[in-house]
């Protein structure tokens, strides 16, 4: 029993990270129909930037803030320099551009930072908390809490603010959004900033547990992509459910089968979703009438 609980707790922790990465995919997909494969790089940059700003002498909270702001700025730059100039190109071309951006960012990170594995101190120490025979790291609670805060914040943003509505409207029908006076270019910029910022936050929260280096982005992007596909690309609720489900599946696979197979879980999920449920759990239902 305590063993199961232990697997579930670690599953929820990684699941929260996957959910945040999947959310990043979802936000940009909604604004532009593009699957941004540089999403994992944003996560890497969050962790790495914090490490280096912290090492340069800045207090940890300040380093975290700097990492999130800088990554968000990079997301905006990527949109302005790589995606916007290619407007009108087929979506596949745009997706390939994001793969290029991802390789570029990874290479640049290798030069600007280094090739070592890094970490920084956990926010609330490393003493495990005992729950009914299982243990959980305080940093895991930060990860889970951070994810919950982001999802609630975003939900309020989309349902309660005019700008949030503008983002939803743009994702539903870009042309119509322009025709009612929504600045869709700004909505795109905002989506990249949000997406990159959320990715960076995920990287910051998880680094004390999983450590980071210049090349962690690719794996996270693939896991986050699997989670987004499972939940249904373009649906924030799907990102949350897909991320948690994938994390739990990984945790249980690692626990009951072998930790060597845990990465396989994500890819089996991708295949199964594509075969049996291409829309994902909460995918866009087509209610259009022609």
């Amino acid at each position: 029993m305590s063993e199961l609980l232990q697997f579930l707790l670690s599953g929820v922790t990684v699941g929260a990270v996957y959910a945040l990465v999947a959310l990043g995919f979802t936000i940009i997909y909604n604004a532009s129909d593009v699957v941004n494969f540089a999403q994992g790089e944003f996560v890497m940059l969050g962790g790495m930037t914090t490490v280096f700003v912290h090492a340069a002498g800045a207090p940890l909270p300040l380093a975290v803030l700097a990492a999130i702001v800088l990554t968000a700025a990079l997301g905006v730059a990527m949109n302005k320099l790589a995606i916007e100039p290619a407007r009108g190109a087929p979506v596949v071309s745009l997706v390939i551009i994001t793969i290029g951006a991802s390789i570029f960012i990874r290479g640049a990170a290798q030069l600007i930072f280094d090739k070592q594995i890094h970490s920084f101190p956990a926010f609330s120490g490393d003493d495990p908390i005992r729950i009914m025979g299982a243990t959980i790291l305080p940093q895991s609670l930060w990860v889970i809490g951070g994810a919950v805060a982001v999802f609630i914040g975003l939900w309020l943003f989309f349902t309660r603010t005019l700008l949030g509505r503008a983002v939803l409207a743009t994702s539903n029908n870009r042309l119509a959004a322009q025709l009612v006076g929504i600045n869709t270019t700004f909505v795109m910029t905002l989506s990249f900033a949000l997406s990159a910022g959320i990715g960076a936050l995920a990287g910051v929260l998880v680094t004390p547990i999983t450590l980071t280096s210049y090349d962690v982005g690719l794996g996270l992007a693939l896991k986050g992509f699997a989670a987004a596909m499972l939940g249904g690309m373009g649906n924030p609720k799907g990102a949350l459910v897909g991320g948690l489900a994938l994390g739990l599946l990984e945790g249980l696979t690692a626990g009951y089968i072998s930790s060597q197979y845990k990465d396989a879980a994500a890819f089996i999920v991708i295949l199964a979703v594509l075969f049996f449920l291409p829309q994902g759990l909460f995918g866009r239902k087509s209610t259009d009438r022609v």
């Binding site: 509505r165 029908n173 042309l175 025709l179 009612v180 929504i182 869709t184």
Partner: protein
Amino acid sequence: MLLVEGLRARYGRIEVLHGLDLAVNSGEIVTVIGANGAGKTTLLRCLSGVHPVAGGTVTFRGEILTGVPAWRRVGRGLAQSPEGRQIFTNLTVEENLRLGAYLFADERVEKDMADAFQMFPILKEKRNLVAGGLSGGQQQMLAMARALMGRPSCLLLDEPSMGLAPIIVAQIFDVVKALKALDVTVLLVEQNAFGALKIADRGYVMETGRITLDGPAEELIADPRIREAYLGI
């Protein structure tokens, strides 16, 4: 109110509007008729700023619109009910209308919504339903109502009759005619030449990216060339 001079537009390398001149005076209903593929929709897309202009100018209420992004044109009073309705299919009817008034946050929004419901009572009945489930005619009404929520002084209407039953078309044309009383100038693009000319003050005939004929609507209806080519008489 709206002056188009030498307007050119292209898709890729293919030019589809070859220097188009057109004028709409304040308070008028002007229609542009023409066959499928004549470039009517492209014309409206250029006017709204959602398709790039390759040459010529669009002047609206004395201001040249070159370089003004689409979303700002709405704020200047130039709204469009686009081809294919383009409603927000997964939002409700009421949410669609509220987005139509995206630029405004005052009490008049409620009054405008009440007016829209009066104009199209069926929308009031369906106000809490998801717009994607409406019938074609209802979606068309919603698209027009949403454009009107933007408080336009000039409304661009793209093929409001497309794919609709004659009785619904008549209803929609009645509303267009009634816009005159509300001080909304209308530029109506239509394939349904007869219906459009009947409610319009003036008309333009468009063929493959050019205006080939223009004049008062009643003259165009009587013109033998028009009768043969567009009215099927």
